[in-house]
């Protein structure tokens, strides 16, 4: 992977070289095996990618089990305060939060396994619930990005001309803003008033708000390279053949061109999930993402930052979890990319 050092701003989309359309022989692959089956074979051979993918999966499963852990092991909820409570750890009685406001560190027992935060809440419980929220936002935001970016790329690249110009300039407009600043601006505004779509409204502290924001701000980062591919594909013979057979624009776009950019979209998905999780953490850290009382890894880091010298666990634990999750999905994503298109020259483009 070659990294472009002149990259102007953060963000991660991957620009793939336009693929050659899948020909009859290629569709069947080597020895009659389809391209996706072939990619799966290649992926299976990439043990590192699989190991990191498995690590990510374990994190997802752990987070899904948060309610079980909270109810049966920690016996609390993610937002229950225990500020003036006391706990007994190995025969020693401790304040959950000291009179000076410093929370207890990890107890390595069922209750307060990873310690407490300033409000006397169980960090382990919040970590798992926070993971659920971070991952949920990551997945929903990626779905939004993928759907919108694909539609924009198909329309823009297929129709060209005025439609392409208008859509591309609109994407440029979004691209012109640094992702975090745009996210903070939208997040702050929407956290107060929520979103009103007429038929339904989204409350300001709903997880859908950061998911929508992240999903939308990343659209240009994915639609731009896809549009380039569509521009190339629309000139290919199989598209002309389809048109000659009387196929309409929509059919050509979704039945002929879309399958040919599908592998690029699949490559994007894990990388977009990783970026969405990171951006969610950044926005939540800045108070513009997940709103209390919902925890997220970003809000947990933000809450703990002022206590670093005396309660380092408050930042280290969610920070470590964030690193592991993003690393897991990123390395797995690289493996998927290698498997789907081992010849692609991939560069990080911002």
């Amino acid at each position: 992977m070659a990294v472009d050092p002149t990259a102007p701003s953060p963000g991660v989309p991957v620009a793939l070289e336009p693929e050659a359309p899948l020909g009859v022989g290629e569709i069947q692959g080597e020895g009659g095996v389809g391209p996706y089956k072939l990619a799966l074979r290649r992926l299976r051979r990439n043990k590192t990618a699989l190991a990191f993918g498995a690590m990510f999966l374990v994190i997802v499963i752990m987070c899904l089990c948060a309610p079980l852990y909270a109810e049966h092991i920690a016996h609390t909820t993610p937002s229950a305060n225990h500020i003036t409570d006391k706990i007994t750890v190995r025969g020693e009685e401790r304040d959950v939060v000291s009179p000076e406001g410093v929370p207890t560190g990890p107890t390595w027992t069922g209750k307060f396994f990873f310690g407490a935060d300033t409000n006397g809440r169980d960090v382990a419980v919040r970590l798992l619930y926070g993971g659920r929220n971070s991952l949920e936002i990551g997945f929903v935001a990626t779905a939004i990005t993928v759907i919108l970016a694909t539609i924009v790329a198909l329309i823009s690249g297929y129709y060209r001309g005025f439609v392409d110009g208008a859509l591309s300039r609109f994407m440029d407009l979004i691209w012109a803003f640094p992702v975090v600043i745009l996210g903070v601006a939208l997040g702050t505004a929407l956290a107060l008033g929520g979103l009103d779509f007429g038929l339904f409204t989204v409350n300001g502290n709903s997880l859908l708000v950061p998911a929508l924001i992240i999903g939308v701000v990343y659209v240009p980062y994915m639609s731009k390279p896809l549009r380039g591919q569509v521009l190339g594909l629309r000139e290919k013979e199989f598209v002309e053949a389809s048109r000659a057979q009387g196929a309409g624009n929509l059919r050509i776009m979704f039945r002929e061109i879309l399958p040919n950019v599908a592998s690029s979209i699949i490559v994007f998905i894990p990388l977009m999930i990783a970026n969405a999780i990171l951006l969610e953490a950044a926005l939540s850290y800045l108070g513009a993402g997940v709103q209390p009382p919902n925890p997220s890894w970003g809000t947990m880091i933000g809450d703990g930052i002022r206590l670093i010298p005396s309660a380092m666990h408050l930042t280290l634990i969610p920070g470590g979890m964030l690193v592991l999750a993003v690393l897991g999905i990123n390395v797995f994503g690289d493996g998927v990319r290698d498997a789907l298109d081992p010849r692609a020259e991939v560069r990080i483009e911002h």
């Binding site: 003036t84 000076e100 300033t118 409000n119 006397g120 702050t188 209390p292 009382p293 002022r306």
Partner: protein, 552 residues
């Protein structure tokens, strides 16, 4: 040889006498145990909103301006309770108040000069009032609501305030009020009434400030970064008693937004003061208390921290529901969230303000952990259980944590509470807008001046406004309204005569559970080893009094 000895003895004696005189420093001084002169460095976490004497409205701004610009009357440069006492400033005495309580007469001291040597005249005082209105000081309504013609002047209908007359020959200033307002002497003591010369531009000044009329002058201002406070060379000649001449030659103030760094530098003696308006990071509180026990103290200031409850909408239009919250509140928990910088209280008037009750709290001891079971029963009885509540709060530690605790408490009581946290810069305008109609949330009040009226303006019907409302709970109680109306005209100097009536009112307010008071804020008095800790005063309203500081 004998002659030489006599000369030496006389010389040593003269030297000791000279040193002694220098140490005394002149009239009106506090005369602490430290030395004279020198420079100190203050680190401030938040920059003053303004250094313009007529425009600042934060403690950081007031710390700088109230020792640089002196009003007609001011406060004793002492800790509480002495610091709550109004004393003459540039005026010869406290104002003479007419029988009907509507005319205040003051006389300027003779031969006063600004720091540039220009004489201070009575007309400068009138110009100062007008400038305060023109630059749109945030608290100008204290003046415009009460002084005849001030509103017309504010609205551009007149060139001068008709209710203010100044005679430069006699030095007399007369102020006519539209109605008797007992706290008007306190209004005259605001640092924003600190006198500046006529002709000072009537717009915000940032770096080039008018000449000083106090013991110090503000110089070398780099907005939001630093400024210096140096001694006014002309102040001593003004002979104003009870206002210190100042000990330090210079105080360098630097803005250090990272309070962790700020506290660490003072702890390591790399800077001399951690600004009292800042919060010591919880991670360092223990270390500061143990390593700097002889140069650190938490000083409680007259302030009320509370959760307001909207009395006009469910569920808190139900008195039993409000009482339940008061029963359940765990004030020591909130004290821990404040890292100990909160003194648990249950009455609206804080300790140190006339009328603060000494009686027991009506719904459980102030330092008790609350009775959750009893409160749950009360919520059930009130029929409000299960209702949704939005709890408003600021995105600023520890206020965010207060609100998260409070929302959790309401959930434990049987409500469906969700915190709504917004930026601290937009918080009060948002909840003070009638369209927001907040159900409940965080609120605080730090005294503008030591008078119960200053607190009760938050709970009267007349203070309910469509925008910038400060009666967040829309409390409208005829008993509160009539009592405040009756007691409001009592002059500041006579407050003690009506203290019992204020106490009765405050006990009534606590019983009606209009708000959930949980404490008074404490501020850090935190210095380096270089400063004489005992001589440094923390004023109950303007916090650090730099004019009292001395090097050891």
């Amino acid at each position: 040889m004998r002659k030489l000895t006599q000369v030496l003895v006389l010389g040593v004696a003269a030297g000791i006498a000279a040193l002694g005189l220098a140490a005394c420093g002149g009239g009106g001084d506090n005369g602490g145990g430290g030395s004279e002169g020198g420079t100190a460095t203050v680190l401030m976490g938040t920059a003053p909103d303004y250094l313009d004497p007529q425009e600042e409205y934060t403690t950081q701004g007031a710390e700088a301006t109230w020792i640089s610009y002196t009003p007609l009357v001011t406060y004793k440069h002492e800790n509480a309770p002495g610091g709550n006492t109004v004393i003459p400033g540039l005026a010869t005495a406290l104002p003479q108040i007419s029988q009907d309580g509507k005319t205040y007469t003051e006389t300027l001291r003779k031969n006063l000069v600004f720091s540039d040597g220009t004489p201070i005249k009575a007309s400068d005082v009138a110009c100062t009032f007008e400038r305060m209105i023109k630059v749109n000081w945030g608290g100008k309504s204290f003046f415009t609501d009460n002084v005849e013609g001030a509103t017309d002047f504010d609205e551009g209908k007149s060139d001068h305030i008709s209710g203010v007359t100044a005679d430069d020959n006699t030095g007399q200033i007369t102020i006519k009020l539209v109605k008797p307002y007992g706290a008007f002497t306190n209004v005259l003591a605001f640092p924003e009434m600190g006198v500046v010369p006529c002709g000072t531009p009537e717009h915000t000044l940032t770096t080039d400030l008018p000449p000083s009329s106090g013991p110090y002058m503000l110089t070398d201002i780099v907005p939001n970064k630093s400024f210096s406070v140096v001694k006014n060379p002309k102040w001593a000649s003004n002979n104003v008693p009870d206002i210190p001449l100042g000990h330090l030659d210079k105080i360098d103030v630097k803005i250090e937004s990272n309070t962790q760094t700020e506290a660490q530098q003072v702890l390591n003696n790399q800077a001399d003061n951690f600004d009292a308006g800042d919060t010591v990071p919880p991670s360092l509180v223990q270390q500061v208390r143990s390593q700097a026990s002889d140069r650190f103290a938490a000083v409680t200031i007259p302030s009320t921290f509370y959760f307001f409850m909207n009395t006009t909408i469910p569920p808190f239009n139900n008195e039993l529901a409000r009482q339940a919250v008061n029963v359940a509140i765990d004030r020591p928990a909130l004290q821990r969230l404040a890292s100990g910088f909160l003194t648990p209280e249950c009455f609206f008037l804080p300790e140190g303000v006339t009328g603060h009750p000494d009686s027991p709290c009506p719904y459980g001891a102030a330092d008790g952990n609350g009775d959750l079971d009893k409160a749950k029963q009360m919520v059930q009885q009130s029929g409000t259980a299960g209702q949704s509540i939005t709890v408003w709060g600021e995105q600023r530690a520890p206020r965010t944590q207060y609100v998260e605790y409070y929302a959790d408490l309401l959930n434990k009581l049987g409500y469906k509470a969700t915190p709504k946290l917004i930026s601290d810069t937009t918080y009060f305008p948002t909840i003070g807008n009638a369209k927001t109609m907040p159900q409940t949330g965080f609120a605080d009040w730090i005294q503008d001046f030591p008078n119960p009226v200053d607190f009760y303006l938050l709970l009267t019907t007349s203070s309910i406004q469509p925008v910038n409302n400060e009666n967040f709970g829309n409390v409208s109680d005829p008993t509160i309204d009539s009592t405040v109306k009756k007691l409001e005209p009592t002059p500041t100097a006579d407050l003690d005569s009506v203290a019992d009536q204020w106490t009765t009112l405050d006990e009534y307010t606590a019983k009606k559970a209009y708000v959930v008071v949980y404490g008074s804020e404490a501020v850090p008095k935190f210095f380096s080893d270089r400063i004489d800790f005992d001589s440094a005063q923390v004023h109950p309203t303007y916090l650090n009094d730099w004019s009292t500081w001395q090097l050891k």
